[in-house]
């Protein structure tokens, strides 16, 4: 069910998510959501025992001859790549092959973080550069069809690691946390969910596999989309590809992990206008800007709500303080829009027209031509009325440090191919 079908939605009384969440959210009879319930497991599981289980799971995948890699690890210049690699290389003592998909919206900071990661952890890396003309064509199509400028990034970063596992015959792929588990409690940690084609299509790709983009009413061709295909079942079976999530075996806390990586490996962070988190997505000009704005248009909430919910669950923010932070950030304008228009070859007015077509009428009202009023859960009373016992003072541990900027140059622009850092 798309959010557009939702006319009534309920909010969790503990965090700030509602049943309009695109991954789905179930609220129990006590008013607590599935995401908060699964998060409770983080304080009850025996994480030492979980770690030993992880060690036993990866053991058979170690290359006996030492002539092949032990695993494939997808990385970027932002997100949780440093911590994942710290666990894989330093603690599990595996020899990983790193893979990264070039999203073309790269910030200098992201290129720097990725180069630093390669150097510090001393790993081989494969970079996939898909024809940028095809990427542009696909973005024009996905923006028009389902309001996404990020489909090629998501499709590439979820397909390339698995394609590499098949091509290099390295069956184990190691991911960080499972987004569905962390946000909406799609699975218990005990389910030990693995990477699946179904989850990728359903959630990462918003229901659209690469082949679903081909249409007689569009200009996309086979040559544009073939590199985004997930390997077929026969190949997955013959290589024995298995994608595991470290979040099932390690108590996942991105804030604490990033701070450890800043201390130990010189990871760098940057500020954004649309959220208070300075650690995530610093590798991309668009994720926390245009992509995030589209998320607000389509789903009635944005990344700052994800960040606030995470911090509320970790006990560093009160619900009221989290809501105040969301209100402070979610309507901020997206930055770097002009850069995206130049890259895609569209006028800003045309881009806004396309984006407006995807505003969800459950959350937006057109008060006059091209004038929109937000009526989402942060302003219509849904969140204000549903919180119980949420007042009080937030922990002083909820401070996010910024030690760099996305781009320190006078005229910021995408680094479409960036191999290293000067």
């Amino acid at each position: 069910m798309a959010s557009s079908d939702i006319t009534e939605f309920r909010a969790c009384s503990r965090c700030l998510y509602t049943t309009a969440h695109p991954l789905g959210l179930v609220i129990d009879e006590e008013g607590i959501c599935s995401g908060c319930r699964v998060h409770e497991e983080k304080d009850s599981l025996d994480w030492n025992e979980r770690w030993m289980r992880l060690e036993s799971i990866v053991k058979p995948y170690r290359s006996q001859s030492g002539r092949n890699y032990d695993c494939v690890v997808p990385v970027t210049g932002g997100g949780d790549s440093y911590y994942v690699l710290h666990l894989v290389k330093n603690l599990l003592k595996l020899n990983p092959l790193l893979v990264t998909n070039n999203k073309y919206f790269n910030t200098p900071l992201g290129v720097r973080n990725l180069a630093n990661l390669r150097t510090r952890f001393d790993c081989d890396i494969l970079v996939q550069n898909i024809n940028p003309d095809s990427v542009r064509k696909i973005i024009r199509s996905t923006l028009r069809k389902f309001g996404s400028i990020y489909w090629p990034c998501l499709a590439g970063q979820t397909a390339f690691p698995v394609q590499t596992a098949v091509r290099y015959e390295v069956p184990l792929v190691i991911w960080g946390a499972h987004q569905g588990l962390e946000q909406v409690g799609m699975f218990s940690h005990a389910h030990e969910v693995q990477m699946t084609r179904r989850y990728r299509r359903d959630h990462d790709l918003m229901g659209y596999e690469a082949d679903n983009l081909l249409s007689t009413f569009d200009s996309l061709t086979e040559g544009d989309i073939w590199q985004y295909r997930y390997p077929d079942d026969h190949d997955l079976k013959s290589i024995g590809v298995t994608g595991i999530y470290l979040g099932n075996y390690v108590r996942w806390d991105p804030k604490a992990q990033h701070e450890q990586m800043i201390r130990d490996y010189a990871y760098q962070s940057a500020g954004f206008s649309r959220t208070f988190d300075t650690y995530d997505f610093v590798d991309c000009f668009n994720y926390m800007n245009l992509h995030d704005q589209l998320k607000l248009y389509k789903h009635g909430y944005s990344k700052v709500t994800d960040h606030a919910c995470r911090e509320i669950r970790h006990g560093r923010l009160t619900r009221d303080h989290g809501l105040a932070l969301v209100l402070q950030h979610e309507q901020k304008s997206a930055e770097y829009t002009g850069m995206f228009c130049d890259w895609l070859g569209v006028q800003p007015g045309a881009l806004q027209f396309l984006m407006d077509n995807h505003r969800n009428r459950s959350f937006w009202r057109e008060t006059a031509p091209r004038q929109w009023e937000f009526s989402g859960p942060t302003v219509n009373g849904t969140l204000q009325l549903s919180g119980v016992g949420t007042q009080g003072k937030s922990s002083d541990r909820c401070v996010f440090k910024k030690n760099s900027a996305l781009d320190t140059r006078e005229n910021a622009k995408y680094i479409t191919i960036g191999k290293g850092y000067p």
Partner: protein, 256 residues
Amino acid sequence: MLKKRLVAVIVVKDGRAVQSFGYRRYLPLGRPEILASNLDRWGCDEILVLCIDRGRQGLGPDIGLLKRLASMRLSTPLIYGGGVMTAEQAALVVHHGADRVCIDFALHQDDVQPIREMAVRLGAQALIGVFPLARLGTGLQWLDHRNGVSRAFSRENIALFDQGVISEAMIIDWSHEGCAGAFDIQLVTRFPMHNVPLIAFGGISEPSQAAVLLSLPQVSAVAVGNFLNYTELAAQRFKQQLPDLLLRPTTYSRYV
């Protein structure tokens, strides 16, 4: 049927696929039609879409969902359950692409004439009776989950099977639903209608469990829900660990 079957179950609540645990706790999964498309490619023998809130809320069958499922062009036989109370509704469900229909709340009605009418219109082969059961002493208790009240089988229910109105019974171990390896086999061995082919569901996670169940002559199929969502190629792995004679062989799709 020469072969026995692995039935993949998609539980749907509020229009979304969910994991269900003991009929009381749910976790979100995704779009039912995308789950169905995946199970179809995996080569499950049948797909059961069970909309658990349609009957309770008196909403009738979810025709919108059936249309979305039809748009996925599934080749696997589709069973639909949820909100079907009349012959007209059952026919509408089949008209929109389901091959068979599950009857649940209609079985609890004093008047079973609508079920007889369904059989006349669609054929008994198209009808599956759903029985959420728990063991109580030496007997079985059949749960009406609209009101949480359990009771024994009625003479009318038994007659529906004896007279060939319904072709199969689905036994749900509702209290163990979602618990790994927890299906109570005595629900099958104590089921009072002896000549009825049975589909066992609820807490079946292990191929070894399925092998024991499928070795019983009265069991025609095992149904698996939550446990097909945790790993890639879960259905094929499940089937591969069962003796070839019991189930259709596994398949692995190729692009070319």
